[in-house]
Symmetry: C2
Subunit: 329 residues, 2 copies
Amino acid sequence: MDRSENRNVTYAEAAAFLRKEDDFLILAHASPDGDTIGSSYALCLGLRALGKRARVSCSDPIPPRYGHLALPDVPVFEPRVIVTSDIADTQLFGKANAIYADKVALCIDHHPSNTQYAERVLLLPTASSTCEIMADLLKKLEVKITKNIADCIYTGLSTDTGCFRYSNTGAKALRLAAEMLECGAHTAAINKRLFETVSRQRLAVEQMALQTMEFHLDGRAALIVISLDMREKTGAAESDMEGFASLPVQVEGVQVGITIHEKGDRLYKLSVRTNEGVDASAICAHFGGGGHKAAAGCKIEGTLADVKTAILNVVEKALDQHGWHSDTE
Amino acid sequence: MDRSENRNVTYAEAAAFLRKEDDFLILAHASPDGDTIGSSYALCLGLRALGKRARVSCSDPIPPRYGHLALPDVPVFEPRVIVTSDIADTQLFGKANAIYADKVALCIDHHPSNTQYAERVLLLPTASSTCEIMADLLKKLEVKITKNIADCIYTGLSTDTGCFRYSNTGAKALRLAAEMLECGAHTAAINKRLFETVSRQRLAVEQMALQTMEFHLDGRAALIVISLDMREKTGAAESDMEGFASLPVQVEGVQVGITIHEKGDRLYKLSVRTNEGVDASAICAHFGGGGHKAAAGCKIEGTLADVKTAILNVVEKALDQHGWHSDTE
Ligand SMILES: [Mn+2]
Ligand SMILES: [Mn+2]
């Protein structure tokens, strides 16, 4: 199929395709999060409810925090139709599932960066989460939203909106959450698992990182350092390392928060987060990096002291340009 | 009026009363939170939109985190009708407003513990927040929900539900949030202010407290200590001290989390939080305290070592009784 062709399909077209086919393999992205797991499981449960064979595959293991999402095992079958859920790019299939990169019949996703790698693409870039799209697709398929499906949809919705905290939380996401609650989703228990449970390793590495916090430029910039040593000492896993980038920028008065991850000898990866309209991607572009206005990243080589001096020089200029006004909107 | 009499009024009765009267003083509770401020301001703005004179009074200053809620000043007037919002008991009026304790014409509240101190009581113990009640009352009054009012209602809703995370978050609260968003509430900016901004003092005192964390009873109990010294060294204000009680119980595997606050010489106040159905109030009852099943408190006298031994002995017995099963629901 010609890449330039329009591969976008409507809900009705996606539903018609799913109704017609059988023996589905649904792929979740590597390093799976609540949205890719929730939406894949929900689709799988929905297709099974329609009497079809379906299973979910992910290149990486499902983290224990999503253990509340139940997908019963089924006898092995040879998949005939590959569907992906919440996967923007074939690079995110992961090693085990890379073999399916050019065999995807239907891609369901909400990432604006989606590379249109599938034969059919159901893409809604304004949706808070793939689960928001999946809920509408299941309704089109006239699948009954069971408690299990409601748990799946709610998990993705809650994961991708930071429990309805982020700016991607639209009225539709809130109303869908209400509906899933009424369908029996264990909302409070799920939120507790997702947002109020930390591992001892995470706690230890967070404490160490917070002890490195420095304030610069009259308190308008804050930085923390996460060294390789900290991860080794605490035994923190990759899944314990989420969300550090948002810590420095949470401190009152801070407009630019910098998280410096040691990656190797004289090699550092920086995450920059900004408040009040300071342009993080412009700051990171100085070092060949990039990203969004409020969240960007880059790599810098040198000693830790060099790296701090380099980033703070650029941040100072950005703050000078931006001026001292502090509009909190 | 006889205390035994039924003082409860319906939405229609409360609305009729407000429509008939004028010159309102609306009281928020002392140590004000987002729900008492949001609901008082929303009512005040609504009554003013109906052409009435109204103002809000609180015995304590409004914390800066609620500075986004705008209530324009009006010329001074002599109040004739006292209304309270989100105040369960006259003891919560605070010093300055204690004079109104037996003069309240209408109390609007959601606390099951409400002492029915007012002439008329609009009480909905199943509501997530007083703001949820206030939104319905304003609709009964046919007040247009402006952006300002939507910000007020959303702030209370988000405060009392922990941004839709706690188990008091019903479908109604989620749908009301969707509605407020559509009325122009600055939801993401409000959540950032309420949930993603910490003071340097808070950060410092939290770090010190986390360093005291101890695990006991095979990791099923965790405790932290907050000393008077920590507060002095960090300059942390009362408003920096919220939420500490929930820290130890967030650690993976912990069923009982204990926060020990030093209150004076050989005097400690304990907050106990539990997961998985362990009874916190039964634990605290051993020391003359009480509370709810998942959250309770008590005071214990003695050295810090005595206090730790005493509480851990009782916790051990509670865990033995409860058994080792760990149902996460
Ligand atoms: Mn997603
Ligand atoms: Mn309240």
